[in-house]
């Protein structure tokens, strides 16, 4: 198994970030569906790009909630921050927040803080509770980052990088599989949704020009393509995200889409 951790894993399913969020913090129906699709754990793999997204979402949502509990008398600002962002970002933050706020009824600041800190110091453990293997084919430096609490009580994690920073091997990894990448990007570029079309065009440019394959183009614009590239042709990608349906047409793997209701 090329570019994977040393753990032995016969993967036949591949988990996307959204599927893992449903597994850990979904509704009764979606969690049950995710659990059914991602069992047994040892037969499930994921990508380090999922690990990077997982950390970014959880640190952003839970970190701001813990910080608000510490510093702000009114939590409405913290909950309002959860709703910021476009598309699925907001719903992902709400899912992350649900992992620490506990049962409905009354909000308990002390318990939220305890759960939040525990989650933040065990981000990798939590991720690996749902998957048997994390494929690190791009050696992403951001995926290896760990959150830390600053002197001001704010939780931070390095979740951006610059081209030429040299903390990953994504450029050469993409080069090894450029035909598959291009077919996924082409499928996206033909789609009617402008957001997917934009992702596809960036992907096409990355396929053509190796020097633009890293930095924001990787973590910010073509994350789904990078995740899909780690999913093999004979595997089943489990997700809630519509973009993978389009990518799957080009790259030639099958997907299982979990329905959610937020």
């Amino acid at each position: 198994m090329r570019g994977t951790s040393s753990r032995t894993c016969v993967a036949i399913r591949f988990a996307d970030t959204t599927a893992l969020l449903e597994l850990h913090a979904g509704t009764s129906a979606s969690r049950s569906a995710a659990r059914q699709a991602l069992q047994p754990k040892d037969e499930v793999a994921t990508s380090e790009h999922v690990q990077r997204e997982w950390k970014r979402i959880l640190v952003s949502a839970v970190g701001s909630l813990v910080e608000a509990v510490d510093n702000e008398p009114d939590l409405s600002a913290a909950f309002a921050r959860l709703g910021n962002g476009y598309g699925r970002t907001s719903s992902q933050r709400w899912r992350a927040a649900a992992m620490v706020t506990g049962s409905a009824g009354s909000f308990n600041a002390v318990e939220t803080k305890i759960r939040g800190r525990q989650l933040l110091r065990g981000l990798d453990s939590r991720l690996r509770r749902g998957v048997g293997d994390v494929r690190s084919s791009s050696s992403c430096g951001l995926a290896r980052e760990q959150p830390h609490e600053g002197g001001d009580g704010r939780w931070r994690i390095k979740d951006t990088c610059k081209r030429g920073e040299g903390i990953c091997a994504h450029e050469s990894r993409l080069g090894r599989d450029v035909a598959r990448w291009r077919s996924g990007a082409d499928a996206l570029a033909r789609h009617e949704d402008p957001a997917l079309r934009k992702m596809g065009k960036t992907g096409q440019e990355m396929a053509a020009r190796p020097q633009v394959r890293t930095g924001v183009n990787c973590y910010g614009r073509t994350g789904d393509l990078a995740i899909a590239l780690d999913c093999r042709a004979n595997e089943l990608l489990v997700t809630t995200d519509a973009s993978f349906e389009v990518i799957a047409q080009g790259m030639g793997f099958t997907i299982h889409r979990i329905s959610i209701r937020t």
């Binding site: 969690r31 909950f79 649900a98 409905a104 803080k113 305890i114 525990q118 453990s125 509770r129």
Partner: protein
């Protein structure tokens, strides 16, 4: 509850006294780098002070060990290592039940008066973790619930775990996190004590609560085992506080 009271309670239990002695032997064996002189000095001090409190020892043997003062103002010492070892840390010793604690406290208090000892506690030695009754109560109630998982015992354990989590949130955040995770598991799981595997994990959680130090690895390993035993710690999204807030926002119209 002061440290002296806890020491006193422990010392009046014969079974605990036996554990105490075995722990003392283990501690001495494990602290061989200490000079033999200092070890013998410590023994001499305990011995001398013990003679001064012979009367008290007859009625409440060993009680005076944790007290700082006596008629001659002699300072009594317990080795630092012993203070950090919980009576159930080895998993073998029985711990007084919640009902039993109150009578033992009364006995300890009356013995304090009888010996003329000062009620104010001495500070624990530097570096020694503070004993807190809430953690012991939580661990013991959880242990009792794993042995006899009846609804009253489970409810009591859940209550004690939540209390311990709140009490230790600032002083021992790892202990608080373990207590709260266990409480979450009991709250969110259908029949949390329903299988041998689940009871074993919860039993180990009770032991971990009594550890002087909880590493991230130990904490995460326990959570992994909870997941392996299907002990849920997060309610379904719609039953969480965040889920309710989001549901409340759903009806808002954008103007």
């Amino acid at each position: 509850m002061t440290y002296q009271m806890i020491d006193a309670i422990r010392s009046v239990k014969k079974s605990d006294r036996a554990v105490f002695k075995s722990e003392a032997r283990a501690w001495k064996a494990n602290n061989s780098p200490m000079s033999a002189v200092s070890r013998s000095a410590g023994r001499t001090k305990i011995g001398a002070a013990g003679r001064q409190h012979a009367g008290a020892r007859q009625s409440l043997s060993g009680f005076s060990r944790g007290l700082k003062s006596g008629p001659a103002g002699t300072s009594l010492r317990i080795p630092t290592g012993l203070r950090s070892i919980g009576p159930v840390a080895g998993g073998a010793a029985a711990w007084p039940s919640a009902q039993g604690n109150s009578s033992l406290v009364d006995r300890a208090r009356s013995a304090l008066v009888a010996t003329g000892a000062q009620a104010e506690p001495a500070k624990p030695p530097m570096g020694a973790p503070r004993r807190d009754a809430s953690l012991y109560e939580a661990a013991e109630s959880l242990r009792q619930a794993t042995i006899a998982p009846e609804s009253a015992a489970i409810g009591w354990a859940a209550s004690m775990l939540q209390r311990a989590a709140h009490a230790e949130a600032d002083r021992r955040p790892r202990h608080a996190a373990v207590a709260l995770s266990t409480w979450d598991a009991i709250q969110c799981t259908d029949r949390p004590f329903g299988s041998q595997a689940r009871r074993k994990v919860l039993w180990d959680a009770s032991r971990l609560l009594l550890s002087p130090f909880i590493s991230t690895d130990d904490e995460m390993a326990l959570l992994d085992r909870m997941d392996d035993a299907d002990l849920e710690r997060v309610p379904p999204f719609e039953d969480t506080y965040a889920g309710h807030v989001l549901e409340d926002l759903r009806g808002d119209s954008v103007r």
